[in-house]
């Protein structure tokens, strides 16, 4: 099988670049701990409202300026509906759904994950800038999908 010399160079450069890229992704994910949100915790979607800690959604202080935020995403809103966190706080978000699939996106941050009924999903963010952060559902969930949002006030 004949391979043109230029094509050989082209493919070697392409494959080399690709290999390097894959190595970087692996280092990023496994050595630097920046893997995508992949929480394996399960929960009965029909009993979310009676399963601790999702029976009382809200912030729990777990360290000096570090919080766990337990939230539910449902048609068509989030609970708690408004949260305030102090400037500089690190917040570990844990979200589940009692009904259909939702998205959990804090606009302007790297927090963006799927919320599946039956599962809890998580991501962490440190709020270094004050302001009113927009949290929205970015997975179609029904007729009111476009009003499913809340805010997090950081001050």
């Amino acid at each position: 099988m004949h391979l043109h010399r230029y094509e050989k160079i082209w493919l070697i450069l392409g494959a080399g670049g690709l290999a390097l890229f894959i190595v970087l992704l692996c280092v990023n994910a496994f050595a630097m701990g920046m893997a995508p949100p992949s929480n394996m915790t399960m929960i009965d979607p029909a009993k979310v409202n009676e399963t601790p800690p999702f029976d009382k959604p809200g912030l729990v202080k777990v360290g000096e300026n570090e919080y766990d935020a337990y939230m539910t995403a449902f048609v068509f809103g989030f609970s708690p509906s408004k949260m305030e966190v102090p400037l500089g706080a690190t917040v570990n978000f844990h979200v589940t759904s009692p009904d259909v699939i939702h998205g959990f996106e804090i606009v302007g941050t790297n927090v963006n994950f799927m919320v599946l009924p039956g599962h809890v999903n998580s991501a962490t963010h440190t709020f270094d800038k004050p302001g009113e952060y927009l949290v929205l559902c970015n997975e179609y969930c029904g007729a009111g999908h476009h009003v499913m949002a809340t805010t997090i006030i950081v001050k």
Binding site: M1, L3, Y6, E7, L11, G14, L18, F21, I22, L25, C26, N28, A29, F30, M34, A35, P36, P37, S38, N39, M40, T41, M42, I43, D44, P45, A46, V75, D99, V100, I101, G103, E105, V107, G108, N110, V111, N112, F113, M114, L116, P117, G118, H119, V120, N121, E132, L134, C137, N138, E139, Y140, C141, G142, A143, H145, H146, V147, A149, T151
Partner: protein, 553 residues
């Protein structure tokens, strides 16, 4: 008369033409209906239009997705591949292939009408990804299942023709077009089996109320097993046009026959065991398994690089043969005023940022920046919406005259150029707006909203107005396209139009192992078991409590 004459017919017989044309016209009817839905969505999201009470944004969105992504593409692909397989195996198809083709057409059309009726009556506003636990009417799922089964029959028709040709042409090289069509349909059948299992054994019984809950993770895994090769099912026929038809249109040759075949084998193998890259932001799949799929996904870059090289090498050698000199002189010699070349070429230009954006999407945690934002919508409009759609349009401009025994007149060609420019400019503006607002966090698949006048959301409005304007350009282009295709089908002057099939400049033997399908399907099966075996077993053995059906629209 021996239908397998060595001297190939340069056209297609009437019986095959009728079949092929029937597929292609359903494709373009679906296309124009979907384009109408698209412009309405753009106007709504741009804030220029409010829908009447009897229509809902997500219903129109479902129609746009199903008609464009599933119906337009699948019908066009079958119509195109049937005609090309006939053209390269003697200009005709045997009875069994025609029978499979028509049976498939009937099943698919019945299925399309069923699913369409459910969307129209707002019983199925679940979008074309139909994520459970949103529950559509059972007829919607049954209709889609019929579309898939019908497309399988069409695939069997192509396999049947291939086997017959092999039997009667022992030792001869399988035409490149046929080889690529067989690879495309092997990919399609393997890819659609899991989604057929999801629809038949999970969604239909659950939507009928026979089962009370559904294993969500399993349903999503089965869906995305199909969802990614689906995009290669769109792309491979466009590549067939790029590798086999366009070189002839520009008066050139196939650059390398064997490398083209290698590229298709690689596409077949590396587009299937990769579905988790659509589920990177999901719970319930571990980080390690996601990375396995990310790596396999990125390997598909290689056949795309090969295709890019080969296509431009063909352009260069054709341009030089016409007297182009210097580093870029050949570029000017290409037939820039021929829509059969110009439309796919514009599509290829879109594919450069399209491919780069795809690498971003597949890059594990980088996906968090763009997941479910308008960026993704922009991405598939500059991949399937531009390279694939423009290639199909460019093909239609010569294929329909071939099938109807008419000619592409200079005026029709000029109109086609105008149509291409409208489509290109529209897609450019729309996808640029989509990519930008996506990076700023604007969600996809969302009706007009200001999120209670949040300043960030208000900042997206200008992009949404650009989208609406570009949607208008695209709609004008779609109408123009339909008018030209109508003219080419019924009104254009009768005459002989050649079916462009290029060959290599000198005979190029290829290693026989390339055509040992059993070997490649075996390799693919091993990869599928490696990539999916353990995760699917886990999803069945340790499943989350099931989900009840919901109708939330």
């Amino acid at each position: 008369m021996n239908i397998f004459q060595k001297e190939q017919a340069s056209t297609v017989d009437p019986r095959t033409s009728r079949l092929s044309l029937s597929y292609i016209w359903v494709a373009f009817i679906a296309f124009v209906a979907a384009a109408l839905c698209g412009v309405v969505q753009g106007m709504v999201r741009g804030g220029f239009l409010e829908l009447p009470a009897w229509a809902n944004y997500y219903q129109i969105l479902t129609a746009h997705g199903v008609l464009m992504a599933l119906i337009f593409t699948t019908y066009f692909i079958i119509g195109f591949l049937y005609s090309g397989v006939a053209r390269t195996t003697g200009g005709t198809l045997h009875k069994a292939a025609i029978g499979y083709g028509w049976t498939g057409w009937v099943l698919m059309t019945v299925g399309t009408l069923m699913a369409g009726a459910m969307i129209l009556t707002n019983e199925a506003s679940v979008l074309y990804t139909f994520y459970a636990p949103l529950k559509a009417h059972p007829l919607f799922y049954i209709g889609l299942a019929l579309v898939v089964v019908g497309s399988w029959l069409a695939g069997f028709g192509i396999f049947s023709r291939y086997r017959m040709w092999k039997r009667l042409n022992k030792g001869a090289t399988t035409p490149l077009f046929v080889f690529m069509s067989v690879a495309t349909f092997i990919l399609w059948i393997i890819a659609t089996i899991p989604v057929a299992i999801e629809v038949l054994f999970q969604l239909i019984p659950w939507s009928l109320g026979w089962t009370s809950s559904i294993n969500l993770m399993l349903s999503r895994t089965l869906f995305w097993f199909f969802g990614h090769p689906l995009v290669y099912f769109w792309l491979m026929p466009a590549y067939i046009a790029w590798y086999v038809c366009i070189p002839k249109v520009i008066g050139g040759h196939v650059f390398s026959d064997s490398l083209a075949r290698v590229a298709f084998i690689l596409l077949l193998i590396f587009s299937i065991p990769v579905g988790f890259h659509h589920q990177l932001m999901e719970p319930g799949i571990s980080e390690g398994w996601k990375m396995v799929h990310v790596i396999l996904t990125l390997i598909v870059v290689l056949p795309s690089l090969m295709t890019a090289f080969s296509v431009f090498a063909t352009f260069e050698s054709a341009g030089r043969k016409k007297g182009g000199t210097g580093l870029f002189g050949w570029f000017k010699k290409l037939p820039w005023t021929d829509v059969r070349f110009f439309a796919p070429f514009v599509g290829m230009l879109f594919f450069i940022p399209g491919g780069a954006g795809g690498i971003v999407n597949a890059s594990n945690q980088m996906n968090a920046l763009v997941h479910n934002t308008m960026w993704v919508t922009g991405h598939f409009h500059i991949t399937v919406g531009a390279p694939v759609a423009l290639t199909f349009m460019g093909v239609a401009y010569w294929l329909i005259p071939v099938l109807t025994g008419r000619t592409l007149t200079p005026t029709a060609n000029r109109m086609g150029m105008v149509q291409t420019v409208f489509w290109g400019v529209g897609m450019f503006l729309m996808s640029l707006a989509m990519h930008t607002m996506g990076l700023e966090g604007a969600p996809r698949r969302t009706a007009y909203t200001t999120y209670f006048d949040h300043p960030i959301a208000l900042g997206w409005m200008d992009y949404q107005r650009v989208m609406a304007f570009a949607g208008g350009l695209l709609f004008v282009s779609a109408i123009l396209l339909i008018l030209i295709l109508f003219y080419l089908t019924f009104k254009a002057p009768k005459g002989k139009t050649e079916y462009p099939i290029a060959e290599t400049e000198t005979p190029q033997p290829f290693p026989p192992v390339l055509e040992r399908w059993g070997v490649w399907v075996g390799v693919l099966a091993v990869l599928i078991v490696l990539a999916y075996g353990y995760p699917i077993m886990e999803q069945i053995q340790h499943q989350a409590p099931g989900s009840a059906p919901w109708v939330t629209w």
